[in-house]
Symmetry: C2
Subunit: 520 residues, 2 copies
């Protein structure tokens, strides 16, 4: 499989490092997604149909501005028209036809098959995400600019977290100015840190073509990336309201050309770039998402696309984006529900707390938005761990805490199994007329691991035990975990020969010693 067979010669130092990685008690965490059994449905089917119809109205009669010539050409060929103001109009039957034939399920590839999973609505997978420009120093309570090294650290941290299936770069490496170098090094740092599916945005279509050979190298040889595309591009093809983003359209076109899955995003902001009425933001986001989905499916019918209908909220007192409020939670859930209604894998941003610290505010804001988006059934929830400060900041500690929260939400999504056995009528009769308790009952022992989870960072001690063991909060415990993982977990996810090949062709900023923790 691997065209670049890894060297069998390893330096003593390399061996030591490998040992250090395998000796650690940190698990390499990956547990596949959760079938959603218990659902949150903020909208009725009739309401969803109304929203869909209104979106079709916008596409047919208002259309999208700023299509690139490649996109306009293929769209006109398929039946779109252009207004005198150069707005691309999408006839409703065309959109419905493209929607009916869009990909409903596809494989999301990790770098190894054990990390593959399915993309489809109704199957919940949690993803990181964000493009924060700063990292929280929790102890000092200050934010500092985020770097490439932070990105690598976040990737290897998330490589150990069981409830995160997909790693989208949560931060921007602000220490790289050149955009091509930024794109290259972002992908490299993600791939070096985790073998889970990775994703990022790319600054131009041209850059994506130039990066394709590196993706092939990482996948094991020429043409291998398209066979198992382990990287998705986040392409925000829309500038709200109702306009295409030409640069992003170029990226989406390049992704189609190289066989890369697309998380096709729009991000209308209620009250700023979309109506203040939540239903109106839903309609506009739906229209914008369908426009992108249509274009990609015109270019390549059935291309793997996640419908990234990310509806955002403004604090209307200031006009600034605010990600933590209940309106945001409602919009995220409604977006997920809309994707499920279409039967298309849907992606939603959630967990975008406005708090600057992983405090109780972050806890309840994240829980509300992530849980409701997840239970609504779109399939993919992004920004689901680590983000703070309305997406401006990221926190290692928050990653750990949020991963625990995600484990809770996954259990909730599995719902309550109801059948003759679980109804337990005879179990109750036995125990009520017998011992009067259920602790020793066979059913209890059998269900101990399947029906119940046991938190790792969350605390269940008695007040006295908690007191005597240091009276810590979850932030302090997360802090210790972060330190332990980052000190010990250097997973060596890029074979050294492949690494040399890549370094020969691309301006890789992370040193081999960085990957092995030599500097720590």
């Amino acid at each position: 499989m691997n065209a670049f067979a890894p060297s069998t010669r390893q330096s003593a130092r390399h061996k030591r490092r490998s040992q250090r990685a395998t000796n650690t008690d940190t698990k390499t965490g990956f547990v596949p997604g959760t079938l959603i059994q218990s659902e949150f449905k903020p909208l009725s089917d009739a309401q969803l149909e109304k929203i869909h119809r209104a979106a079709l109205d916008l596409l047919e009669n208002l259309g999208m501005a700023n299509a690139t010539s490649r996109v306009a050409d293929v769209a006109l060929e398929c039946g779109c028209t252009l207004t005198s103001e150069n707005r691309l109009l999408f006839p409703a039957p065309l959109v419905e036809d493209l929607l009916a034939n869009a990909s409903r399920t596809f494989v999301v590839h990790g770098r190894m098959p054990e990390l593959d999973f399915e993309a489809r609505s109704g199957l919940l997978n949690f993803c990181t995400g964000g493009a924060a420009i700063s990292i929280l120093d929790m102890t000092e309570r200050v934010y500092r600019s985020s770097t490439l090294k932070d990105l690598f650290d976040l990737a290897r941290l998330c490589d150990t977290l069981e409830n995160i299936q997909w790693f989208t770069r949560p931060i921007v490496a602000t220490d790289i100015e050149n955009l091509f170098e930024l794109d290259v090094n972002t992908i490299y740092a993600c791939a070096a840190g985790t073998r889970k599916h990775i994703a990022t945005s790319i600054t131009s279509g041209e850059n994506l073509y130039r990066i394709q050979p590196m993706l092939d190298m990482l996948a094991g040889g020429e043409g291998k990336f398209a066979e198992r595309p382990f990287c998705t591009v986040h392409s925000t093809n829309v500038v709200s309201p109702m306009s295409f983003a030409p640069d992003s359209l170029d990226v989406a076109c390049a992704a189609v050309d190289i066989g890369m899955p697309i998380h096709s995003q729009t991000g209308p902001q209620a009250g700023a770039t979309a109506p203040a009425a939540l239903a109106g933001t839903l309609v506009q986001g739906c229209a914008e998402s369908l426009a992108s989905l249509s274009i990609i499916n015109m270019l390549n019918p059935g291309h793997p696309v996640i419908l990234g209908n990310w509806l955002m909220v403004s604090d209307l007192r200031t006009g600034a984006f605010s990600g933590g409020g209940p309106e945001q939670a409602l919009l995220g859930a409604a977006s997920g529900q809309l994707s499920a209604y279409y039967g298309i894998p849907g992606g939603v941003g959630a967990g975008m707390s406005d708090s600057k610290l992983p405090d109780s505010q972050a806890g309840f804001e994240k829980a509300l938005s992530v849980a409701l988006a997840a239970l609504a059934g779109g399939g993919f929830v992004y920004e689901s761990a680590g983000m703070l400060g309305s997406l401006l900041g990221c926190s290692f500690e928050s990653m750990i805490i949020d991963d625990e929260m995600l484990s809770y939400i996954r259990r909730i999504a599995r719902g309550i199994e109801v059948n003759d056995e679980t109804l337990s009528v005879s179990v109750v009769k036995d125990s009520a007329t017998g011992p009067g308790h259920f602790l020793g009952h066979n059913q209890t022992l059998e269900l101990m691991e399947s029906e119940y989870g046991y938190p790792e960072t969350a605390d269940r001690k008695t007040p006295a035990d908690w007191q005597s063991s240091g009276a810590t909060d979850i932030g302090q415990r997360a802090c210790e975990k972060v330190r332990h993982i980052l000190d010990t977990y250097y997973p060596q996810h890029i074979d050294s020969e492949i690494d040399s090949l890549i370094r020969n062709c691309y301006p890789i900023r992370l040193e081999p010693t960085d990957l092995q923790g030599e500097r720590n």
Copy 2:
């Protein structure tokens, strides 16, 4: 209306205190409940029906142990039978008949009509609750025993919190040993601190009869309490599995006699006093709740009862109660859904975090369990604010933080309004072809207050502004609010003449000076 007209003579000191109370910028917070528009339904109707049928099976064939003679007599008269082991069997048609005729809606009275609201499934109201024996000192991170003074302080704190409609005593006054004095002073401290509907458990039926005159005094004269019963009794009539609690049955009978509404509770603990299978715990809790509901309705058809089907969870590693996990959130939601299915006002305990501090764990555990219980539609969510340490502790700061969280959940419960206007098609067309943004649009200005909420304790500052204003977490901000409210808000909710009357008849422990903050 008031048989004990308040004195017009007030001491200068009293006037000064009153002024202090009214001059404060603290609002006396009460906003009526929320109609649930966006629903979380973990179970299908077919599953609910199965659970109901299995519960009827238990009631008909296993029945309840330990009925008191008064209860057994009325039950046998209505068609129940007694087994040779003295278990009271409830024929399914009898239970269904009683259920069909149980009260579906009634008024929950405050001490003044402005604080009244309706009890019914589908109308969300948040309540405090708990019987914690300790209070968190957040700064020192220690728990100390809770006192009567703490209860009064919690009552007046909650009197100011808008999202809490009902005050059940969250703590036990551990400084009172005598049970009658405990009951009397618990009710007195609650009534002194808030005019919202109050509730507590009572240790015996006899105590409740002895307290009735005090309730009448507080209500304005003899017979007045039964006209506007401002206090509900939490009566845990069941010892799981499937046995009555005789003392509590006596309390429920006394409540029926004096016209006091009953929150009729059961608290089976999955894996300990109920099956480990969540569905089985639901079945048993349902059977136990229906047994209590049936008995009360036999005693007084249509008596105001809240179906308190509180399903708890054990950590199966230790057998100890654990209130913060996802299984608990699922059970709370399922219980709420079951009440809604019956169309009976239902009460659920939620927000019972296992964390000992108002940290991120408390935030996400509370948000998950409270939101899902609320959105499932039972109507009443108890323990919804202030509780920590698996109900062993209570925190003033947590009350403030959780009240903010409740405001989010209430907004979510209101859902998304979908109609021709909110779909906003013409608004999008206007803005996309016009200014390109929506900030100045009429719709935005109109919806600013109705569609969006603005948090008070949660933070939305930019990282820079947050930094320069002290880099606080929500716990610190809550701490300041607590201090301000407790220092300034002495609401004088018991008229001085009534107070004297009560003090003549009952061993009231709070001094008049305590009520006026003289000691602060």
